[in-house]
Symmetry: C2
Subunit: 193 residues, 2 copies
């Protein structure tokens, strides 16, 4: 568990946490992730707004909770971000693959449901917008930081789409080490142009 | 028109071409792209098999024809592949974006229909398998050529998924020049590690 980890508290409060998640799902669906405010979500849930940061860290953490992912992608990303700068892409690609490989069916289903959605209002798309903008761009230096952070995310998505959804060889069955070897040097260029 | 261009012939033969496309659609759907043979497609169409290369160049060209794309992606790729090696990724990214930007709705629809398909048998997935394996890998040198060629394609797909399908800013509205500037140096590493 790292410092940021937003966990299920050891005892009590589970109900308020669940009420917040249910309200967030309603509000994100009705208004969209960017418009729905933490205050309106807390009001909808009948819970004090300060509990959002207590349970979820921030709005992105609340979004992650609504998706019921098999792991917390923000915790994983933050672990991968810390450490030697020159091997950051290596760590992120490896963390992404070792996190999702055991859940490739979950990824494929999430991808299909969210991409196939007739509306462009999708929690997975919100997550792809939010994570690079909030957690990666601030670590970058130089020009076009937001664009480079999202480009980095898009290359990971392309990898995952081919490995988990379309399942095209040789990417579908390649060992994680081989994929890290091939993708990381390419993606590192986006972090340090 | 380049040397490879597979065109609609100036006169006559349109019917045989159409019969081949219809038969290819049937055979690809029934057997899958890799299993369906040109001979069985020609037999199904009641047309001599030699006409496949005449009209479509090869099996990949026939697959492209069944998709009724707004342009021929193989012709475009081959134009982009010719020329200075060090700027190959630049040319491919620019060609891809200037080809698809005017048809972003077509891309999004193709992507949704093919990715959302319950079966993994999809002509777009066949195309993503076939184009890098056939046209790009042979231009590469060094280790992991098939993997690097598909990785290159996957990064383009990630870009297109974010720009045309999910429409996430700042990638969705960025000028082509900015995207070439950001993506091409990253993707060039896959061509020349």
């Amino acid at each position: 568990m790292n410092a940021r980890s937003r966990g299920r508290p050891a005892g009590g409060g589970g109900d308020k946490r669940g009420l917040l998640i249910a309200a967030a799902r309603r509000q994100f669906a009705a208004k969209g992730y960017e418009v729905a405010s933490l205050r309106s979500i807390a009001t909808d849930a009948g819970v004090d707004v300060s509990l959002v940061s207590h349970y979820f860290g921030d709005k992105a953490g609340l979004l992650v909770a609504t998706l019921e992912l098999p792991f917390d992608p923000i915790d994983r990303l933050e672990s991968a971000l810390s450490g030697d700068r020159a091997s950051m892409a290596q760590r992120i690609v490896r963390t992404f693959l070792t996190s999702w490989d055991p859940h490739r069916e979950v990824f494929a289903t999430l991808f299909r449901v969210n991409v196939a959605a007739p509306s462009s209002r999708s929690p997975l798309i919100d997550l792809v917008r939010e994570i690079p903008a909030t957690f990666l761009a601030q670590r970058l230096e130089g020009a076009n930081r937001q664009l480079r952070a999202l480009a980095f995310a898009s290359e990971l998505i392309g990898l995952a789409a081919v490995r988990y959804v379309a399942r095209i060889e040789p990417v579908a069955s390649a060992p994680v080490d081989d994929l890290v070897l091939v993708y990381a040097p390419s993606m590192q260029v986006l972090l340090d142009p």
